[in-house]
């Protein structure tokens, strides 16, 4: 009787299993050392980047016209430190300090600025064979120093934010937030500690970049999102009217036992408003009904396409904007019809960052296609080689014809006889301007937030803007004229 095949016969099978296991290990090694390598090596938390940040002279940060926004100087003992052009750009540019780490663009591009990460993969491949760099690459941004200064000046003592971007490419020209702080004070090792402590304790939170991280109730500027969702999903058309709307102007609209009241457009009387008219006079009732018709699922879906519900793809960190706190049984996470109706005109639990609302305007301005916002446009290394960061699309939100209706609506909101009552000061003389103002009630005592989003020229937009002034009162009071001044300055500066 043969006692079965001997163990020696099965050894090859075991060998194969082990060879496979080692093959998987080699694949794992290639994953971290080749595939994910670039991402890890350029991260601001990488040990080599951190070491370089302390020893290497950082490259300059420049604005769109080549003005220096951030530069390096040497202290008496030879260690490099950073100086900044103007507190107006402190929020997007950030600071870099040995003691307090880094923020803003200084942080996001630590690897490139210190030469540790390098610009493009092919140069980085051979960079290691060259002697290590003592100075990093320069960072070219889309920011405009003069416009940024103007934005900060116009905001004055108010807290708020201004975002201006080119809807065709996503380049961000202005990312202003007040109050500002002096980043040079932090960069300079002699003054760093006392300045930083003081800033941290300041209750106005000057270190907070309101443009990207401030979440505010948007009020009527959010109606554009509702319109996008309605038109995009087919629930609304430019001609949509609601028979119950004129009547509800007086008595209010009852939704599930809750009464929604409208604002200040008694002059429309019995007119049944359509999309363009409702936008022009900022009709809450029309939009509440439009939102209910569109439904939570569509509203949520289109809002997500615009960037709501998560961080935005951007050079510096952003806070997610939201439609609702979520957890509700209705599609989209709304608690009930009342919340959905309120959200449709920008109240309820809706919170949006100024950057997010600027993207909404940019999407409409760019014919329905949303471009990714960008601060950095190019990197110039020590040898003078430039690597550009190209524009990227976030996707098509609306098709061209639906988008055209919105453009018309927003144009009327600024240029129309009735519209300009709500957006006084936003129009740029000689340029067809489009936009939407907003007054965000935040409950309790105190003024509401003042909002404006818009773009110009309305027929071929080259610039989009979002402005918020905290507690700035009715939209017409602060945000609209501020936006108008910014837009005028932009066009004045064009050749």
């Amino acid at each position: 009787m043969t006692p079965g095949r001997r163990p020696t016969a099965r050894v090859p099978a075991v060998a194969v299993v082990l060879v496979l296991a080692f093959g998987i290990l080699a694949a794992g090694s290639s994953y971290w050392q080749v595939i994910r390598a670039d991402e890890l090596v350029s991260s601001p938390t990488d040990a080599a980047v951190l070491v370089a940040a302390r020893t290497v002279v950082r490259g300059k940060i420049l604005d769109r016209d080549g003005r220096t926004l951030a530069d390096s100087r040497r202290a008496k003992d030879g260690t490099p430190y950073r100086v900044y052009a103007d507190p107006a750009v402190s929020h997007p540019v950030g600071y870099a300090s040995a003691l307090y780490g880094s923020a803003g663009l200084e942080r996001a591009y630590t690897a490139e600025l210190t030469g540790a990460g390098g610009s493009d993969p092919s140069s980085r491949l051979f960079a290691k064979f060259l002697p290590p760099a003592d100075r990093g690459s320069d960072l070219q941004t889309a920011l405009s120093l003069p416009l940024q200064r103007l934005a900060v000046r116009l905001l004055g003592d108010d807290r708020g934010a201004v975002v201006m971007l080119d809807p065709r490419s996503g380049e961000v020209l202005v990312l202003a937030s007040t109050p500002v702080f002096d980043a040079s004070g932090i960069g300079n090792p002699a003054t760093a500690q006392e300045r930083f402590e003081a800033l941290r304790e300041d209750e106005a939170s000057p270190l907070l970049d309101r443009a990207t991280l401030g979440r505010y109730v948007p009020g009527s500027v959010f109606k554009i999102v509702t319109a996008i969702a309605g038109l995009g999903s087919g629930s609304l058309s430019p001609a949509t009217t609601f028979p119950e709307q004129p009547g509800a102007e007086e008595d209010g609209l009852v939704v599930s036992g809750f009464t929604i009241r409208d604002g200040h457009h008694a002059f429309t009387g019995d007119e049944e408003l359509n999309l363009v008219a409702a936008t022009e006079v900022s009709c809450n009732i029309w939009y509440a009904l439009a939102g209910l018709d569109t439904g939570g699922a569509n509203l949520d879906a289109f809002a997500r396409r615009l960037g709501f519900g998560g961080p935005l793809p951007f050079d510096v960190p952003t806070a997610p904007s939201q439609l609702t706190n979520g957890g509700g049984p209705l599609p989209g996470g709304f608690l009930d019809e009342v919340e959905l109706a309120n959200a449709a005109y920008g109240q309820g639990e809706v919170l949006a960052t100024p950057l997010q609302m600027a993207l909404v305007a940019a999407a409409v301005a760019n014919g329905g296609e949303l471009m990714e916002p960008r601060l950095a446009t190019a990197l110039v290394d020590r040898q003078g080689r430039t690597t550009s960061v190209g524009p990227r699309s976030m996707g098509r939100i609306l098709d061209a014809s639906a988008n055209a209706a919105l453009v018309e609506a927003m144009t009327r909101a600024v240029e129309g006889d009735r519209g300009r009552l709500f957006t006084e000061g936003a129009k740029v003389p000689g340029v067809l301007t489009a936009g939407k103002s907003g007054t965000a009630e935040i409950g309790g005592a105190g003024e509401p937030h003042s909002w404006f989003i818009g773009f110009a020229p309305a027929d071929a937009p080259t610039i989009a803007i979002a402005v918020i002034v905290e507690r700035g009162g009715r939209g017409g009071e602060r945000a609209s004229p501020l936006a108008g001044r910014m837009l005028r300055a932009y066009f004045d500066a064009q050749p």
Binding site: P3, R6, F129, L130, P131, P132
Partner: protein, 145 residues
């Protein structure tokens, strides 16, 4: 750091990595040549052992294929299990080297016989010779080609 020093460093570093792989390649060659030698004639066995006479197990007429090293004995772990009362657990080992067969008695109680004569230590064998273990006789024959 000057460029010359940097260059020298990298020459050494790359040479180090290259030499590591040279050493590995040499080891791999050793592994492969062994494997090749072992699988040269997978179908043919080196030789066969035919049971001429036995008191029970293995039955007469049984044919065992032989490897380069074949152990014979009562132990179930042996290559050829000889279940005879006069066989030791580890009785003998039959090996093939340099194109020749050798049998070695492993200090068995009753000894190993070749063609009737008891042998001690390592003994050369030829095809046709009979190995005696206890009452079992096995004949060495050529392998199948």
């Amino acid at each position: 750091m000057d460029a010359g020093l940097n260059l020298a460093l990298w020459v050494l570093r790359l040479a180090f990595l290259a030499l590591l792989w040279v050493a590995l390649a040499l080891m791999a060659r050793a592994l492969l040549s062994d494997v090749r030698a072992a699988s040269r004639d997978p179908a043919a066995s080196l030789g066969r052992l035919v049971v001429i006479a036995s008191s029970g197990q293995p039955a007469p007429g049984t044919v065992f294929a032989l490897d380069a090293v074949t152990t014979l004995g009562r132990d179930l772990g042996s290559s050829v299990v000889v279940d005879d009362p006069f066989a030791s657990a580890q009785h003998a080992v039959l090996t093939f080297r340099s194109r020749g067969w050798y049998v070695e008695d492993l200090h068995s109680t009753n000894g190993t016989h070749v063609n009737g004569a008891q042998v001690a230590g390592v003994t050369a064998l030829g095809y046709g010779d009979e190995i005696g273990i206890g009452d079992v006789r096995l004949r060495l024959e050529r392998g199948r080609r």
